[in-house]
Every structure is written in structure tokens, then in C-alpha cells.
Symmetry: C2
Subunit: 139 residues, 2 copies
Amino acid sequence: MPGILEDADRHCAKTGVRLTPLRRRVLELVAQAGAPVKAYDLLSQIDQTATSAKPPTVYRALDFLMEAGLVHRVEALNAFVACPQAGHGHAAVLYVCESCANVTEVQGSRPGQENKPAGFTVKRSVIEHYGLCADCPHP
Amino acid sequence: MPGILEDADRHCAKTGVRLTPLRRRVLELVAQAGAPVKAYDLLSQIDQTATSAKPPTVYRALDFLMEAGLVHRVEALNAFVACPQAGHGHAAVLYVCESCANVTEVQGSRPGQENKPAGFTVKRSVIEHYGLCADCPHP
DNA sequence: GAGCGGATGTAATAACGTAACGCTTTGACG
DNA sequence: CGTCAAAGCGTTACGTTATTACATCCGCTC
Ligand SMILES: [Zn+2]
Ligand SMILES: [Zn+2]
Ligand SMILES: [Zn+2]
Ligand SMILES: [Zn+2]
């Protein structure tokens, strides 16, 4: 979590996209959480400061942040996590602890493509592992 | 595609779970589709025969079928596909064509766990690759 | 037939996400 | 500087996905 916002600033400056105050605020909330966050939770947090937040507000910001490679969507949870490495080019592999909700992200060039069908061209991968992290008691 | 229902009958007999007519009907619809199907689409198809289908009806059937290893949920699509190999023990890897919606399932013992964090115990994996299959025109 | 557990029916609502429209801000350009 | 187009954002309304809670039914056992 240290420096995620600063990294985002640098990354956006380099790639020429606009990290507006609203988008930066949403990224800040996602990064602060340190765990998967729901869109409507972000919504209610934004609402505390400005009464004007509606669903499109937060979804647009999240779309931007995902496009910019600053946030990943956790598909099986309908939630979002901040990426610890702004704008990395490869697919993210997420290890999600079902006990403490901690998420560890690792990256690889072609993760999970062990037996790819001949001729298939992968454009996007969703790789999420659910279980128990090292810090949580194993049954 | 051929024999999915018969395989399901055998598998449920062997594991001692009840593949009721309703559950079998839902599995039949998912298998017939040959592509990811949405829960509410199943719902409307069931409705054609019995006016009594409501959301819990189909979600309960799908929960059972997933638990039994007869159906997989495609997380990034909020949809469901029939498993070609009833009750296989390993994680499924899905290759989903974004052009023709065809899904190819392959299986492996620990797919996508290239750099698993030390001490993490994986209970469930979601591995979905999106792109273009061999039969669809590549740009 | 009383009791029990699993399966299903039913109503209501929660949770998640998007379309469409208009106003405002930004930044490029003459 | 004034103009203009594109991007960003507010707002309303709606569509889609999923669950909770409670009632009922059915097959089984005692
Ligand atoms: Zn990442
Ligand atoms: Zn944990
Ligand atoms: Zn399978
Ligand atoms: Zn295809």
C-alpha cells in the first residue's frame, strides 16, 4: 500500500491519461481497503463527502482504473482490488484468502494456459485462487 | 455433448445424490445450449413448460449441479456451462471464445499456480481465458 | 398417521450494473 | 483571447443478477 497513489500519478503522467480527483479518490479508497471492495461500498464512502455519488460515478471511475491497470476486478466476488504494480503488462493471478480477505497478486507471462486448445488466441485471463493464506488457521 | 445426461445419471447414482426431474431438466437446458447460459434465460425456458419457475428454482438447481460437478459457473460472464466430464476432481480451465461463445474445458491438477505464495492453501480456482477460438477469424 | 428432512413453490427484496441525456470542464487551435 | 470538440461528470431511470424468508409438498420412518 505504500506509494500506490504516487505510483498511479507517475504511471498516468507517463501514459498520458488523466487521473482526475474523483478517480484518484476512488483509487485511494480501494487501496486503503487492502482487500476486495464492492462498488456500492465505495459509493457509500464517497457519499460521505459529497452527496452526489450515484452508481455510474463509481463504475466509470473503476472502468478507468481497470483500463489504466491500476485496479483489478475480482470476478468471483464482484469486487475490486488495487494493483500493487501500476500498469504491469501481464495477466494477474490473485490468491484470495476466504478467512481474512487478504489478496496477494502475482504475475506471469502466460499463467494457467497449460493445455491451451490449438489455435486459440488468449486476449484476457481471469485467474483467481480461493483458500486460506499462511496467516490464517488451517482446519 | 452426447451422453451428458446419462453420465450425470450414473455419476449421481454412484455418489448418492438425487438428480431430480427439475435438476435434470436444468442440466439438460445447460447442456443443450452448448455455450454459457444465463440463469434467467434458463428460467424463461423452464417457464415455457411450467408457469411456476421463479429465480430460486433455477439458482437452487444450479447450486446443486455445481456442487455435484456437473456444471461450472463462468464467473466473468455470470453464466453457466455443462461439464463434459461429470465430477472430475480437478480445477477446470475454460477457454471462452468471445466471437462464437464456444467454451472448451481442459483440466489439470494445479493450473495457474505458478508462483503460489508460501503457505497458501488453494481450495477453489477460477481460471477463464477469453479470446478467439481456432474457428473464428483472427483480426 | 405423526414426525422428519429434503425438495420445491412463492413473494419480496437486495445487490450489481448500465443506458441515455445534458451540463461542465479541459485543452487544442486559429 | 474566443471557439470548439472531446472528455468528464451529474442525474434519472431502468435492467440484470441473486438471495432471504417462509410456506408447502413429498417420501420416508416410526
Ligand atoms: Zn496487477
Ligand atoms: Zn487469511
Ligand atoms: Zn468440468
Ligand atoms: Zn469462436
